[in-house]
Symmetry: D3
């Protein structure tokens, strides 16, 4: 088991990659059975994956909400990926440790317009078919940036001091109500990226931490970060203007 594959989602295409490469362990961010199961029957999608992994001696390890709140964790890696190089603070600190918690907020070295920052974020994140969606005036000057890997709607009430909040899975009503509230004053802009893309930056960070941690114990492993895109959206359509 000295080959370890890192990926966001435990899905068939990731298992294909593990098998082909000869991985003995897959580390994913998302659990296979987040809400539990009473069966792993081979005629279910997830059961089939279980059978395939067991038959091929591939273990599966999941680091989900513990990786979200770790220091450094999922949102630290995201913050670095979109260009925040300075100090970072959690958006919702853990009750028992102010350095851990959900989301991160920090400052850009140089202010950018919202459009410039969105373009920079797009370059820093892995590519998906649809990229990023931006809400707010493209010419708004952005300095303080809040980010949260994965679905971030529960953190909307923590970002009032930021100029922009980048996260994923924002739906119409929360995004619209948030922008209406800000319209009156100078509230933060929003950027919505693919859930997968916002969590992917954690993979190289986790691979590095594991490799060096094991090396310190004299154990040598080979790691690989999956580049398989597991965002569901594969293409787009748009009418002419």
């Amino acid at each position: 088991m000295n080959k370890i594959l890192f990926a966001v989602d435990p899905v068939a295409s990731v298992a294909d990659e593990a098998l082909e490469w000869g991985a003995g362990l897959i580390v994913t961010h998302h659990p296979l059975y987040l809400r539990g199961t009473t069966t792993v029957a081979a005629d279910t999608v997830k059961g089939a994956l279980i059978h395939r992994l067991i038959r091929n001696d591939i273990a599966l390890y999941t680091a989900h909400t513990n990786a979200d709140v770790a220091d450094p964790g999922v949102s630290d890696a995201l913050a670095r990926a979109v260009g925040l190089s300075g100090e970072l603070r959690p958006l919702r600190p853990a009750p028992d440790d102010p350095h851990r918690g959900l989301g991160r907020v920090g400052e850009l070295d140089t202010p950018l317009t919202l459009q410039e920052f969105a373009d920079q974020a797009a370059r820093g994140l892995p590519r998906t078919a649809w990229g990023l969606r931006v809400a707010g005036d493209p010419s708004l000057l952005v300095r303080t940036v809040a980010v949260s890997g994965g679905a971030g709607d529960s953190l909307l009430d923590t970002v009032h001091g930021a100029d922009v909040f980048l996260t994923a899975d924002l739906r119409h009503h929360p995004a619209s109500e948030f922008m209406q509230s800000g319209a009156a004053g100078a509230g933060p802009a929003l950027i919505d990226a693919a859930h997968w893309a916002t969590e992917w930056p954690w993979l190289p960070q986790a691979a590095e931490l594991l490799t060096s941690g094991l090396a310190a114990k004299g154990i040598s492993v080979e790691t690989r970060v999956s580049e398989t895109v597991t965002d569901a959206w594969t293409t787009t359509a748009q009418c002419e203007e």
Copy 2:
């Protein structure tokens, strides 16, 4: 009150339009206080809207879930907008009436590839900054089409017989799990459009029904369908390939 404005969302920009045009009534699809309120204070976003409407003698009427399940209703209008001209059935029929209910499913006159259908849908719906997101093989042949205006994740388990399901507000986990399930067999593709865009087609339909209904009673009104885009996302960003 003989000027009536139709819009999806009861927001400030829609109130601006009503005021400018001299509307006496705004009919919206979304309610202002979906989860209730204990205050309409003028220093809240929604309270400010209430004050403004009352001071300017503009009434507000909401047709939400009743419009969703009506026959014809929100999803009928959506189905027509994306090119379904034949008979439509509800995806989840109302317990007491098989012709009413949530969502609609119907057949295209001529099969199209998934990409062709997505392009056709994009042309049929009002434009937003980001258009449509498509999951599935672009060359998949599509004939049976399911649609549901607004957030449609609760209907994912009703669309197994369709070739594609077009709706809004689909997030990573439901969309990804749905596509994984379908991968094994020949499950439906998904198209995600702006919540606002999927419900907008109902507005002209509702305006026409109200005008003719009142005319039959000898009442003459002037109606207008708002073209203000109330989708939150105003621009996009994408890295180069």
Copy 3:
């Protein structure tokens, strides 16, 4: 907005008074929407009030449970009104401050019979059509007095050391069970007054606090305490003995 009207209930007759006097603000103890609302439609009683206040530029501010537990608060004013001039303690102290909390208890300077105390309380409170109802032996000697403005049944288990408990909205079962428990020993008597009458004494106190607080900031306002009786009961009937 330099004329401020104080009242217990935000009802039509109070709005009449505010309009006639030219108030710019009404401060009430009871909120308009205690349990929340999804509509302020003009064809509802409370919505009509909202429309009327907004059209006439009259603001509405509510101080409900914060006024109940304040020091001094609603029950302090009630205690003074029924003749307690010495030190007062809360019946149920706030967890974080022993001087704040629900209800008050204190000592009469001179003991009175229950009937004498009830007569004194009746003189100290604003008049309603039905006055006060008294449970217990009229000749019982009363020294320690517990009071709570508004519905006080939830405080019945806190008054065991008092000789009498004066509050409002006591119903048959709680009052009857409480008196049965006391019958065995020397438990407290009960006095039930109009909910409105027990909270009214707070109005002059609140008006005075606001006037002097604003004066200290150099702001001059005119205040008025509404004498409109908003107790529902307008008359009584009784058979001859």
Copy 4:
């Protein structure tokens, strides 16, 4: 056990009466342990009553909500007591029987003013220290009368067609909101009587039904209706006008 005492409340003074008269059974409307108990210890009020009844061979039988909805039941007796001689309908019919249910509504033979009707009701009900409280214009003409024995606030939404609703245990907020709603149109007036007084008229009716029912089986019993007032309020106080 051929002497049976009927009373509203199972309290000490009723047990006194039963003991003195030599009753073998007390039939009450209210249960002793409505919310259940884990102890009948003699140092609790209700436990002491249990001990006393058992030691003196007095049984206790309760007819509570079954008597409320019976035909004839508690509200029929109340309706007759306040002067309704014609046909009566339930306010909230039982799902399985339109002649049974909570509350009753009927017509006066001759219209009366609200004050005249309240005086008539006061004469028809047993006397308490405080009589009846009336909300509404005393000169309002009353013909259709709704009544419900005991606490009737849950029936306020069923009495819209009546001119007056007589019940018990009405508190400030329900009574006030009900009267505000009616103020706009021609809504019903309210009369609030003692809970005990509104249920007492059922006692002679129940005694009569039991006596004749047993007589039909050849069993002769002696019944007595307790005239002990178990309303908690023993006197009143009022300031001079």
Copy 5:
């Protein structure tokens, strides 16, 4: 997969037997994950079983509550095993089918004493270390017998017409309260057997039904009923009298 092993519990010793015999399928009465799981990790007891079965190509099928209520089902087989040869009725019939449901009740051809019937039941059921526990007078005459395979405490209120109720997993409070209730009249006796022993008789019945059902479709399978005792209790201790 033409060798099928039937067992009550999906545990390690049953997997041993399946492996040794070369079974392709195990059919058990109890599910492996009755309350669901989020992991099948190999370092958990149940996960280790999952890995072992998958690696050895052994499928697992569970027939739990559907087998309990079937006609014939688990309690039919139990009834026959303890000597009931006549007609059987469910103790708690299924709402939609009076012949299906939980538990069974029937008549012995010849009355036995309670002790004689317990001895007969012990001979009819598979042996466990502790046998049967009996509550009631050993000389009580028994004719009507109620049985329910597995934990039967929820059926105690359905067996009033029987002379004895044989089931499993009865604890002190339900058994004691049940026997106290019966003591006054002529209530049923109780017999408590091993949960495993009461459900085992269903195995040969199920094996027979499956074999003949498949044979009718031209499919030939070999079945075997596991005799591994999976009752937890392996021995007993008792002080001398």
Copy 6:
């Protein structure tokens, strides 16, 4: 009331004994109405007991969960009865006192095999018809012993460090899953005794504490510990091997 009878269960046979002996008070471990009651009617089993006790001037006092967690309490007495003479610690310490809590764990002076320990426990506990049931290898060496009087399944997750856990009312699924978990490593064995037998040892301890406590106040009482077996199971049956 100077004669006090101690027993585990408040049942008819214990009342018989109290009556015969002339007790003025029964102290039991189990409450009569653990889940509450709304009636003590004489035609219910428990109501009949209430009537009988009151008519015969016998009081009933219950020490249930307070006795369970006391120091010394129910499980201390049980630990001594099965042969633990050294220091004892709670299995689940009370949040506010590490010396009180549920269950006890301690060390045997000399290691015994599981069978030897079970035999010793059987001799130390009062006799029931069925004795003790043992799960685990009879030759396992036992030194650390966990015990809990009464139903102990909720403590199964606290006994991992022990060699054996003796308690009562263990059912098939918890016992079986617990033994499966242990099978892999060296997990604790289980012993299941009668609920009554595991709590009985507390009775002499409680009688002694009460007698000496009252003697210290100059009050002399006579106590007796009931030897009536209130375990429901009166006999057993077993097939020949």
